[in-house]
């Protein structure tokens, strides 16, 4: 494995972990408005995906993928200012929490409904490409959220339009609406494997990587 890539990935992994731990402390101290969520244990997927992005690409990171913003150039100071609702963050106090996006650096703020950001990211990348700026969209979804209809519709639309969309399904075997014992969230993943491997969807390519290793991602 490339030593330089390992060093770079390690740097971002340490940085996002440190920032999110600081954020969590601030939240527990009651100094952070609203609520706080982190991506502890799942940072590598975000770091690995973001490192693969090109200059003009866009990403729609989710709650656990805040490392994407760091890799794209949001500084730790901007990051914490944003969480604290202070000026100097990318959203300039208007939005906070996980709803962080630096449009000039190619990250789009998420909305809480999952996986509704996939079609938005796809639209941004498509419009950029049509205007002569070749770019791809990087969208994230958990295996739970991939049960939603929007996920399937976006894949379908991306295939029909041949849109430059990369979907990272973070298969953590958790799903908010998947009760243990009644429905296995990981089932949906196998449905997708069959879907994307079927002859009906030749323009969708798939690959599977260990998400806890940033260089592999």
């Amino acid at each position: 494995m490339d030593a330089e890539l390992l060093r770079t990935a390690g740097h971002w992994l340490h940085l996002i972990r440190a920032i999110e731990e600081a954020g969590r402390r601030l939240y527990l101290q009651g100094r952070l408005p609203g609520s706080f969520y982190d991506g502890r244990g799942q940072e590598a997927t975000a770091v690995g995906s973001a490192l693969a992005m090109e200059e003009d690409d866009v990403a729609c990171p989710l709650i656990r993928d805040m490392a994407v913003h760091l890799v794209r150039g949001v500084t730790p100071s901007e990051f914490l200012r944003h969480y604290l609702g202070k000026s100097g963050g990318p959203m300039e106090r208007r939005d906070g929490n996980i709803h962080l996006g630096a449009f000039d650096r190619g990250t789009i703020p998420m909305i809480s409904h999952l996986p509704e950001m996939l079609p938005v990211g796809m639209g941004v990348a498509l419009s950029r490409s049509w205007r002569g700026v070749p770019s791809a969209a990087l969208g994230f979804s958990g295996d739970g959220a991939s049960c939603g209809g929007v996920f399937h519709e976006t894949l379908n639309l991306a295939a029909v339009w041949n849109a430059p969309l990369v979907v990272v399904v973070e298969r953590n075997r958790c799903g908010q609406d998947a009760l243990s014992g009644t429905r296995r969230p990981s089932r949906s993943w196998f449905v997708h494997l069959r879907l994307v491997a079927s002859p009906a969807a030749p323009s969708i390519r798939k690959t599977r990587k260990r998400g806890s290793s940033a260089p592999r991602v």
Partner: protein
């Protein structure tokens, strides 16, 4: 459409909403969770209708609901010391509206101010003042006014949020202007 301002109303209206065979929209404001105290009683036999006079007065009618009711009552207290006697009405149920009750109060005072957390533009306050102006025009001594949030998305930053939401100062200013028109 219900918008309770007190714990008692939250219980009563929720019971009525559950008992009602039609779809009901029930608006609770998060800021009230820690602000109001009271006992919750759920009974299904109370009607899903009716406004309540929270403070009697003769100079200006203040229409309010939800969290802004507490703001309106505070503003009424402040203005009482200046000799402006406000009647504060808690709408409780926004639709169907207890129009007879509101109209009787506005006819009595001949002045009306809506104090709510909604945007004054295109919101509940716009509807209420339009109705008052259209149906009670000859009874009015001043143009009806609205107090609400500033017309932009609610910001995340606490100081900006405070600036956006209606305040006692903004409410008293508007009521004073209507009272002295």
């Amino acid at each position: 459409m219900c918008a309770p301002a007190t714990a008692e109303d939250a219980g009563l209206l929720l019971g009525a909403a559950i008992a009602d065979p039609n779809p009901v929209m029930f608006f609770e404001q998060k800021s009230l969770y820690t602000k109001v105290k009271g006992s919750l009683t759920y009974t299904a036999d109370k009607p899903l209708f009716g406004a309540v006079v929270r403070r009697h007065g003769g100079d200006v009618t203040i229409l309010s609901y939800g969290a802004a009711l507490h703001l309106a009552l505070e503003a009424a207290d402040t203005l009482a010391s200046e000799g402006i006697d406000c009647e504060v009405i808690d709408l409780r149920v926004l639709c169907p509206l207890d129009w007879e009750m509101l109209a009787a109060s506005v006819r009595k005072t001949s002045r009306c101010v809506v104090v709510h957390e909604d945007y004054p533009d295109y919101g509940v306050g716009a509807e209420l003042t339009a109705r008052v102006a259209f149906q009670l025009f000859t009874d009015l001594d001043a143009p009806p006014a609205r107090v609400g949030s500033c017309f932009w998305p609610i910001p995340f930053s606490p100081p900006l949020e405070d600036e956006t939401l209606p305040s006692v100062e903004r409410a008293t200013d508007a009521i004073r202007r209507v009272a002295r028109f």
